[in-house]
């Protein structure tokens, strides 16, 4: 379907119906907002699959079930394959007009679940895979994942005199997905909800596999007050440490290309996970950001 044919969902016409409530997520949780908004776009004829991780942990505590639509917890590595089975099984039974969506964390996606996800994209399964990225294994107590940024203090990358937190950079998850020549891939942030909603809507109208990588604040794991949860998710994009982009038909597109960046330092030092960073650490982070943007500006659009 041509992207312009899709009826836009905006704050004016978005449904009042709630599909994810009564859960036990912390106040200000970006992941739960990503799930809530996506389901409003996808509607009740949706099967949601959630691997082990915060969103499944807070949403399915018997007898308090938080999803109005069909939802199921998968094994930690098996979200994409269980969603594939649901999508294919429903088709085999002759079901029409339904969606299958995964909501998985950064660890469940970029680390332990990447094999099953790669397989699902290879088969071009008719599923939407949403990775809510809170940049660590939160459910198990803030350990480092493949999407934890450089310098982050986690419980397995302590910030000490010798090592200042995580020593690796975020995996290029979006580009790894695009390298599969996936039907549709995008990055988003809960700080830019309209952009996120548009992308979920586009995924809804895409045949085959869609992937959306949404930046999702975690006040508990990042050490920030809940009231700045959305602001932080905006600043991550504005500072250039996260970016909004899309991939379709072998084309990359930057949705937001700021002339100047919000100061990295101001974004980082609000969060206790980055409080220990030295000027030199921040220089390394900025340098990495600049290289990335140089590449994106040259090759995308």
């Amino acid at each position: 379907m041509n992207n312009t044919d899709i009826k836009r969902i905006t704050p004016k016409n978005i449904t009042d119906k709630e599909f994810f409530y009564g859960h036990k997520a912390c106040a200000g949780c970006g992941g739960s907002l990503a799930v809530r908004l996506a389901l409003k776009v996808l509607g009740e004829r949706t099967f949601a699959v959630l691997p082990a991780g915060c969103m499944s942990a807070v949403g399915f505590i018997y007898p308090q079930m938080a999803f109005v639509n069909n939802a199921i917890i998968s094994t930690f590595p098996g979200a994409a394959s269980m969603a594939s089975g649901i999508s294919v099984g429903a088709r085999a039974l002759g079901l029409k007009d339904y969606k299958t969506v995964v909501f998985a964390g950064d660890g469940g996606t970029a680390d332990i679940g990447i094999q099953a996800l790669s397989g699902a994209i290879d088969r071009n399964e008719d599923i939407i895979y949403v990775c809510y990225d809170n940049e660590a294994y939160m459910n198990t107590g803030i350990q480092k994942s493949g999407l934890t940024p450089y310098g982050t203090k986690t419980t397995t990358t302590p910030a000490g005199k010798n090592i200042h937190g995580a020593q690796t950079f975020k995996k290029n998850l979006f580009e790894i997905m695009a390298a599969h020549e996936i039907a549709y891939a995008a990055t988003a942030s809960v700080g830019y909800p309209q952009d996120y909603i548009d992308k979920i809507n586009k995924a809804k109208h895409t045949k085959g596999t869609s992937f959306i990588h949404v930046y999702a604040t975690c006040p508990t794991g990042w050490g920030i007050p809940t009231e700045i949860a959305i602001q932080i998710a905006k600043e991550a994009v504005d500072s250039g440490l996260f970016y909004l982009a899309e991939y379709q038909n072998r084309n990359f597109k930057l949705n937001k290309n700021p002339k100047s960046f919000f100061p990295v330092k101001d974004y980082l030092l609000k969060q206790s996970r980055f409080k220990h960073l030295t000027d030199n650490d921040i220089k390394i982070i900025e340098q990495q950001r600049d290289e990335k943007w140089e590449y994106m500006r040259k090759h995308w659009n």
Binding site: E44, R45, F47, V49, S56, A57, G59, F60, I61, Y62, P63, M65, A66, F67, V68, N69, N70, A71, I72, I73, S74, T75, P77, G78, A80, S81, M82, A83, S84, G85, I86, S87, V88, G89, A90, R91, A92, L93, L95, Y98, Q115, A116, S118, G119, D122, R123
Partner: protein, 395 residues
């Protein structure tokens, strides 16, 4: 009219699967299961089998996809062996806890290390506690028939438990025999389409596979155990119904052979049964009172049947292609747990053999019976015996 085909065990499983009309097959290749998934792929290609074939990227995903299929109320099939079975171990417990009646063929094969593609039963026996019904078949005919029965038993509303059909790698998967192919119409009457309350639907949305607190968990495990115990009656009923329709009865939980007045009985699992049956005949011709008990199901365990038989005999030998390191064979441990419920249990010996595909000859079996008779006559025998070892040991 049903017809007969000269086919391998793997092919028999493929045909049994086709006749059971699964909606989706998700599988990953591994020797010696491969022929089964190749045949199924061909059947899907030709349109002979109206099912979706999912080319999953691993066994973990094969099981994960099968659970997704079952969770929307569709019939799922998968097949694996050895390393693949262990790779999906997380999913095995998950599927039984979720009460998804998936049917899986497992080609029994040794586990690395050392690497070996040949048969033994350490793969499935190491997963006895995963909550799957486990049947072990003796030949290709039984393999075909048990796939059909498996769906009927697993999908029974009082059971809703996944089902593993085990057949010995190579000895069964790759040897050819004449197999009677049931007619599709008759199978359709025997096995109606899958219906389950345990599914997600748009009429009745559900949140499935949830978490529990310590306040609720044990009750789920109790129910799961009850379901497995319920399957015993269902297994026996289905065996009878299948026999009435297709003229082949397997005896349900176990199959006895010449046990009526036997003093010494050997218990078997899988394809070795045929060899033991021949030796029983030979010894009977020599006037020795011997018999054979083919254990068909390891889970649920045929405790009642074993106790009933054991009360009448003097010695039991367990032949198994398995060892639980640091103790004894797992089948033997299970049999002895049943024997412990008798006031005067017969003596028992454990014969560990056939591991990694090692041959078990007729004379090996003959010698096991001799050892059992010696034990009955008071001559001391090793309780756990490694059969057909290639080297001398200092024991």
């Amino acid at each position: 009219m049903s017809k007969k085909l000269f086919i391998s065990g793997d092919e028999a499983v493929a045909i049994g699967t086709k006749l059971s009309r699964p909606n989706v097959i998700s599988a990953y290749p591994i020797t010696p299961q491969t022929v089964t998934v190749e045949r199924l792929s061909e059947m899907v290609e030709s349109g002979e089998l109206k099912a979706e074939y999912m080319h999953v990227e691993s066994e973990h995903s094969a099981m994960s996809a099968a659970m997704g299929v079952s969770a929307v109320g569709a019939r799922a099939f998968t097949a694996t062996s050895s390393q693949g079975l262990l790779y999906m171990a997380e999913g095995l417990h998950y599927a039984s806890g979720g009460r998804y009646p998936i049917v899986m063929m497992n080609a029994n094969r040794s586990l690395a290390l050392p690497w070996s593609i040949y048969g033994d039963q350490r793969d499935s026996l190491s997963l006895l506690d995963s909550g799957w019904i486990q049947v072990y078949v003796e030949d290709a005919q039984e393999a075909l028939d048990m796939i059909i029965q498996a769906y009927k038993i697993a999908e029974n509303k009082d059971v809703l438990t996944p089902f593993m059909v085990n057949l010995d790698g190579f000895v069964l998967t790759h040897t050819y025999e004449l197999v009677e192919i049931p007619e599709q119409e008759k199978v359709d009457k025997f096995l109606p389409p899958f219906q389950t309350p345990n599914k997600m639907s748009f009429e009745e949305p559900k949140n499935m596979a949830f978490s529990t607190t310590p306040a609720d968990n044990l009750e789920y495990k109790y129910q799961q155990n009850r379901a497995m115990l319920n399957s015993i009656d269902v297994i026996n009923d289905v065996d009878k119904e299948f026999g009435d329709k297709f003229d082949r009865y397997y005896g349900g939980m176990v199959q006895e052979y010449r046990c009526d007045d036997a003093d010494v009985v050997i218990f078997t699992l899988g394809s070795i049964t045929g060899t033991v049956r021949m030796i029983v005949d030979k010894l009977r011709d020599e006037g020795k009172k011997v018999g054979l008990l083919k254990i068909r199901y390891m889970r649920p365990f045929p405790e009642k049947e074993i106790i009933k038989l054991a009360g009448k005999v003097k010695a039991i030998g367990v032949v198994e292609k398995d060892i639980s390191f640091g103790y004894e064979g797992t089948v033997y441990t299970n049999v002895n747990s049943a024997l412990s419920k008798l006031d005067n249990a017969p003596l028992s010996l454990d014969f560990l053999c056939g591991m990694g595909g090692r041959d078990v000859s007729k004379s090996d079996i003959y010698n096991m019976f001799i050892s059992l008779f010696k034990a009955v006559n008071g001559e001391k025998q090793k309780r756990v015996q490694f059969i057909n070892m290639g080297v001398e040991t200092d024991e």
